[in-house]
Amino acid sequence: MISLKGVGKRYHGGFDALKDISFMIEKGEMAFVTGHSGAGKSTLLKLVAGIERPSSGSVLVSGQDLGRMRRSAIPYLRRNFGLVFQDHKLLSNRTVFENVFLPLQISAFDPREAPSRVRAALDKVGLLGRESAYPVELSGGEQQRLCIARAIVNRPSILIADEPTGNLDADYADAIMDMFKSFNQVGVTLLVSTHDESLLEKFRPRIITLHQGRISS
């Protein structure tokens, strides 16, 4: 489902954030990307989500080469993904409900069924009672779960989450990990980054470790 071959990413200014990355993730698999801060985890996830373009090599998602895709086709590709961003990217002037509603609005989802979809997603992350709150009124853990609700409301086949447990207490982090596990059990492919090794010991998922932009084992 996701396949990288010899991928490199050089940012403006000539810095190589990723070098010669190759791996494959099957449909329905759950994989974790780990490494120190600055190792290139976010860059790798952005390449898979089509947010950054690879400087070399190829990134294939469901058989499509993202590096060769027309720019106008990228939005439609992104709708297959659920994205959880490291910096949340919640809209502060919209309520919890409206934040989760946004992806449905973008993909022209049937407006009569949208509200129940939004509530179902909020229910899964345990935010059903907070529909009319604004993001600033939520705790860090609740904001993180709101991001996840927004990522899953479109029922994506691939969920890409960048440090979804960053800065959270261990209890919160465990709850979110359980949530991901349950998504995976219903067939969602997961690609999650974390710098928290203790989480991995508990779940023992497939791990891709990055070190200074390269895969180390």
Partner: protein, 301 residues
């Protein structure tokens, strides 16, 4: 189809909400657009009124040939012969001095004056029409030099001068319209740019989770078009009010001269053109504004 309708309705409603959220600055931009548009539109309205005024006076322009008073019968019929053989002349009418005097006598105002005259002061005259009005000027000059022609008068001289001034006015108004049309696009470009800046995060997030450029543009295009339309309506109101006040003054003047004349305002078709143009220009300004922003976003990756 339902989804498409709902997206557009949603975009439209959120546009209205945006306008309502900043009523003062919306009102301000609408006024600026209205004033900008009212200038060329007002000039067109005035030109149009002057045109209809000139056409009621001109009818078909004629040349009056006045013979000198000592011209003999033969000399008069010589002129008649020349007029018959002149290809540029469509028709002419001979008014003898006796006929002219009789006309004056029948006119109440002049009858007393005429009866007090000891001899006829009026000359024989020809009233000449040309086939094409563009020949009038040349004919007028040539005929003035014909023998025993005392004076040739082109009746519509001032009308034709007015016409050429109006033509010049039209060109000037067209240039002004184009310039102010650009100004309208720039004004919208800027107001939409400010709107975009307040919604930078929304645009970024929407793009990240799969919004097409069309989706992002839509509410801003509505905003630009709606603002342009409101500006067009403001211009319409300015012009109607202006004409209303001017007509008040003209009414007094017309009563003094016991004539009836009033400036006519924009007819429905012209109003519609004004509204369509103002909203399209607003739409265009918004399009440039969002496209520039999207282009800047795209050039990062």
């Amino acid at each position: 189809m339902m989804a498409w309708l709902s997206i557009n309705l949603h975009a439209f409603l959120s546009t209205l909400r945006k306008l309502a959220r900043s009523p003062f600055s919306s009102f301000f931009s609408i006024c600026v657009i209205g004033i900008t548009l009212s200038l060329p539109t007002g000039i067109f309205v005035i030109l149009e009124n002057l045109e209809s005024l000139s056409s009621t006076f001109s009818g078909s322009p004629e040349i009056s040939l006045f013979m000198s008073r000592d011209a003999s019968r033969d000399q008069v019929s010589e002129i008649e012969k020349r007029l018959k053989s002149e290809p540029r002349v469509s028709r002419f009418k001979f008014v003898s001095k006796e006929d002219a005097l009789a006309q004056f006598r029948n006119d109440n105002e002049f009858s007393d004056v005429v009866s007090s005259l000891s001899r006829n002061p009026l000359p024989d005259a020809f009233i000449v029409s040309a086939k094409r009005s563009s020949d009038l000027e040349a004919l007028h000059v040539e005929m003035g030099k014909w023998p025993k022609v005392e004076h040739a008068q082109l009746d519509s001289n001032w009308v034709r001068k007015l016409d050429s001034i109006l033509k010049l006015g039209h060109v000037a108004a067209a240039i002004l319209s184009i310039l102010l049309g650009f100004a309208l696009v720039f004004i919208t470009f800027n107001t939409i740019r400010l709107q975009i800046l307040t919604q930078k995060d929304e645009i970024e997030v929407a793009k990240l989770i799969g919004a097409t450029n069309t989706f992002i543009r839509r509410p801003f295009l509505y905003l630009g078009a709606l603002q342009g339309l409101a500006g067009g309506i403001a211009a319409w109101i300015i012009i109607e009010a202006g004409l209303h006040f001017m007509n008040g003054a003209i009414l007094e003047l017309a009563q003094l001269y016991s004539t009836r004349f009033a400036l006519s305002n924009l007819d429905p078709k012209e109003s519609l053109i004004l509204f369509m143009l103002s909203s399209s220009l607003g739409w265009l300004g918004a399009w440039f504004s969002v496209s520039r922003h999207l282009w800047q976003l795209d050039s990062y990756s």
